[in-house]
């Protein structure tokens, strides 16, 4: 055991990720210099900030005294529109996402289908909701139709991509066993793939409903209907108490959705 005693006292350190010390330190110092330089380029107009503080304070104080009653009809209508928009676009988005998600999974789709479906997903993800909404408002006019279409389109990019990735992660042997029984393609999907992805599909759908509701509150700012329009009007009129009321309702609804989705996702494993 003389070798073991020789080994005593030997130090050990985890090897660094970048082994070349010159490169390592150049990167670290470079990053620090860049950070400092970047912060110094931000131009802050301190007198403007001071003026704004007063308005900010008013806005914050409005939360202690939110006004639900004066514009209640507007708030009520906007909320309802947002909820309908979020629900309808989520359902439409899911229905379209499932075939695209299947097509975008490399392990079950042939290459041409895969490329087309990945292309659709890439397009949907490349365009931000606001940009799509501006475009669709220009085409379909102001109102919730543009918002509904925007959110459906965005849901496709989100859901198909994550669904396809989940399908690619499924256990190959379970699907292979179903295929070996002589099943048709649809039966193979139904028995071999669907049970494996169902919990995630449901979880993602609820999560997307949550996102769509929050987005629907923003889309109103560009005229695509929903509570965002009411909120925008309230700000324009400096009715901070009404704006506070709207924001409080949005927060409450998002929290309810969040808790529901956590609860349901916990139930599925």
């Amino acid at each position: 055991m003389s070798e073991a005693s020789l080994a005593l006292g030997r130090t050990w350190k985890r090897p660094p990720i970048i082994s070349n010390p010159i490169l390592r330190w150049t990167l670290i110092i470079g990053a620090l210099v860049y950070l400092i330089a970047a912060v110094m380029t931000i131009d802050v107009n301190w007198s403007r900030v001071y003026e704004g503080l007063e308005r900010g304070k008013k806005f914050i104080l409005a939360f202690s005294n939110p006004n639900f009653s004066d514009r209640w009809t507007d708030i009520h209508e906007g909320m309802l529109e947002s909820i309908v928009m979020a629900l309808a676009s989520t359902v439409a988005g899911i229905i379209i996402s499932i075939p695209i998600g299947l097509g975008a999974a490399r392990n079950i789709a042939p290459l041409p289908v895969y490329l087309i479906c990945r292309g659709i997903i890439a397009l949907s993800r490349a365009l931000h909701e606001i940009i799509v909404a501006i475009l669709l408002v220009a085409v379909f006019g102001f109102g919730p139709l543009a918002g509904f279409l925007t959110l459906s389109f965005a849901t496709i990019g989100f859901l198909s991509k994550l669904l396809a990735e989940d399908i690619e992660d499924t256990d190959k042997s379970q699907a292979e066993a179903i295929k070996a029984t002589g099943s048709s393609w649809l039966q193979w999907i139904n028995f071999g793939i669907q049970p494996q992805i169902m919990p995630r599909l449901i979880g993602l759908s609820i999560y997307r409903l949550d996102i769509n509701f929050r987005e629907s509150a923003i889309l109103g700012l560009v005229g695509a209907g929903g509570i965002g329009a009411t909120l925008n009007t309230a700000f324009d009129r400096y009715e901070f108490d009404t704006a506070a009321a709207i924001i409080i309702i949005i927060i409450a609804i998002v929290m309810v959705l969040e808790n529901t989705s956590t609860f349901i996702r916990g139930k599925l494993q």
Binding site: T181, Q187, W188, F191, M198
Partner: protein
């Protein structure tokens, strides 16, 4: 009943997994396929039901060349070949009953299977098979709640409800303890005997193979290097298949002590 003629598989990576395998299996014969990891055992049985597409050669089942079948006819042919897998390959989130019934997918239409409305005769058969493998009380349990041995029994029931002529069995005992392994091997061989099925069983455990099967095929680097009875497996033969090792312990007659048969 099953003939393999110069069956060859070369993977796109260039690896030759199977090289000109010629093999004839008569009706009702159970044979074990042994060989080191990477010898092509899994590729061989998957080339028969074309979960792996063979590169060349033929696999002929009851006079029908499987390697040249169209997609539709291949599905029909797959119904006659039940498959049992190493890690059971049950669909984990489906119930035991659904897993067994999935063996009938080749016989029923999509909507029937989608709505789980299988014919009564199929359901009777499923219950009979579950009873035969000792799991009739587990029908509505989810597959992932079962132990390894129980899962493999469900896998066996799923293969048998296809009413196959041939069983393709891929390492059925690799993830089981020694006792359960024996029970599963015994069950497979008994069922083949009862139903007059032929079977190809890939197996690592040479001693276990010797206990249960009348014929052993040795595969090495995609080539068949041995074909004979279990008693012909001498140390020289095993060295030829696997390489140098002390084989005496493997060859020793294994006592088949009494085990409960479940």
């Amino acid at each position: 009943m099953l003939q393999l003629q110069k069956l060859t598989k070369r993977y796109p990576t260039g690896d030759l997994a199977l090289s000109d395998v010629d093999l004839e299996i008569p009706m009702g014969q159970v044979l074990a396929l042994i060989g080191p990891s990477g010898a092509g055992k899994s590729t061989l049985i998957r080339s028969i039901n074309r979960l792996v597409e063979p590169t060349s050669g033929a696999a002929i089942l009851d006079g029908e060349n499987l390697t040249s079948l169209s997609a539709g006819n291949l599905r029909k042919a797959r119904r006659r070949m039940g498959m049992i897998f190493q890690e059971y390959a049950l669909v984990e989130r489906l119930s035991v009953m659904e897993n067994v019934l999935s063996g009938q997918l080749g016989y029923v239409g999509f909507w029937r299977s989608f709505l789980r409305k299988f014919p009564q005769s199929t359901i009777n058969e499923a219950f009979r098979l579950l009873e035969r493998v000792g799991l009739e009380h587990m029908a509505d349990k989810r597959a992932d709640q079962l132990s390894g041995g129980q899962r493999q029994r469900v896998g066996i029931a799923r293969a048998l409800i296809q009413d196959p002529k041939l069983l393709l069995v891929d390492e059925p005992t690799a993830s089981l303890d020694p006792k359960t392994s024996r029970q599963i091997m015994r069950l497979i061989c008994e069922l083949c005997d009862e139903r007059g099925l032929s079977a190809i069983i890939n197996i690592h455990d040479v001693a276990l193979a010797k206990m249960f099967v009348p014929r052993v095929i040795g595969l090495k680097l995609g080539k068949m290097v041995f074909d004979g009875g279990p008693n012909d497996l001498t140390p020289d033969v095993l060295t030829d298949i696997y390489g140098e090792e002390d084989w005496e312990a493997t060859i020793e007659k294994v006592d088949d002590e009494d085990e409960e048969t479940a």
